[in-house]
């Protein structure tokens, strides 16, 4: 897969999925990054202001660390990575071997409900990705 270059149509389709599946639910921010820490796309409710480039670098490092720990203890991966805070939560999900979907959401969304929608969003994103190959 040539994930290094993404077309305009692909990105628009993916942003639409993030809007429909996640931002509409009340998710504050949905970011797709690659495992090297590059940002593929960001969708937010325009209320939140994060330093997304630093965030992406740290998130990729975080995910890579957990992944390496999983292999050390003989797991192929820890599929769910979730950080819970006082007011906001961060959820990590693998789209494929190169891409990660990160969502940030507040107290008004339950983890279960979020996961359901993340799974659906990922299935749709994978289809957009595959079409390009």
């Amino acid at each position: 897969m040539n994930y290094g270059i993404v077309s305009q149509e692909q990105l628009e389709a993916i942003e639409e999925i993030l809007s429909q599946k996640l931002i509409k639910l009340g998710v504050d921010c949905a970011i797709i990054i690659d495992m090297a820490g590059n940002i593929i796309t960001v969708k937010d409710n325009s209320k939140s202001k994060y330093d997304i480039y630093s965030f992406a670098a740290l998130a990729a490092g975080n995910f890579a660390t957990v992944d390496a720990m999983a292999k050390l203890v003989g797991e192929t991966e820890f599929s769910l990575l979730f950080h819970k805070g006082q007011d906001s939560n961060i959820h990590f999900s693998k789209i494929d071997d190169e891409l990660l979907l990160i969502t940030m959401f507040g107290r008004d969304i339950s983890l279960g409900f979020l996961r359901l929608n993340v799974v659906e969003a990922i299935e749709q994103i994978q289809k957009v990705w595959d079409r390009q190959e």
Partner: protein, 201 residues
């Protein structure tokens, strides 16, 4: 691998400062962070131990302006140089586009430089990258120590040890005074961007 966004016309380029422990990688980024404020939009991120040794990486986003209508965002990283951190060093190398190898010019660090370079070679192979193909610049750091009477390796020896087969551009430098820090950065950015430009055509 760099990431190219054709919609927003943004290219993200990952450059990693690699080298043995205490050779001055973090000091390079700190100097860049101080000197080029107008090209840096956010804070430098440093994941380090209490003793100021890099634990995972330093991260500094550096804005380069435009090339052929594309916004070039340079992401500078350092690796942790301590021997025991090779697993995290490897993680930082993931998707790297260009490398600055920072060697410690102090005489007593001679072996450590060579070992670190050899490990870089192996770590790149694990990602199916080649040290002979990836944009690479050598920096022989801490040359200022000469003036303080501390034995420093002659450039000819460093070249023989580290650069005789690679034959990449090299600089004597002093990260602490800033001597040739910007020159090193400019060189690695231009080599890396040239190699990426081919993808934009």
């Amino acid at each position: 691998m760099s990431f190219i966004n054709l919609k927003d016309k943004v290219v993200q380029v990952k450059i990693v400062y690699y080298g043995p422990g205490r050779c001055g990688k973090t000091t390079n980024l700190e100097y860049i962070n101080r000197k080029f404020r107008e090209q840096i939009q956010s804070e430098m991120v440093s994941l380090k131990t209490h003793g100021d040794r890099t634990l995972f990486f330093d991260f500094l986003p550096f804005h380069m302006g435009q090339i052929k209508g594309y916004d070039i965002k340079i992401q500078l990283y350092t690796v942790p140089g301590q021997v025991k951190y090779n697993a995290t060093r490897k993680l930082v190398l993931k998707g790297v586009d260009g490398i600055v190898f920072v060697a410690d010019a102090m005489e007593k660090q001679r072996e450590k430089n060579i070992r670190s370079l050899n490990q870089l070679h192996e770590n790149l192979q694990a990602y199916k990258e080649s040290i002979f193909k990836i944009p690479l610049v050598m920096q022989y750091n801490k040359v200022d120590l000469k003036e303080h009477g501390i034995p420093v390796l002659p450039i000819s020896v460093l070249q023989q040890d580290l650069n005789s087969r690679l034959q990449v551009p090299y600089f004597e430098a002093s990260a602490i005074t800033g001597y040739n820090v910007a020159a090193t950065l400019k060189k690695i950015i231009s080599s890396t961007v040239v190699s990426i430009q081919k993808k934009l055509l």
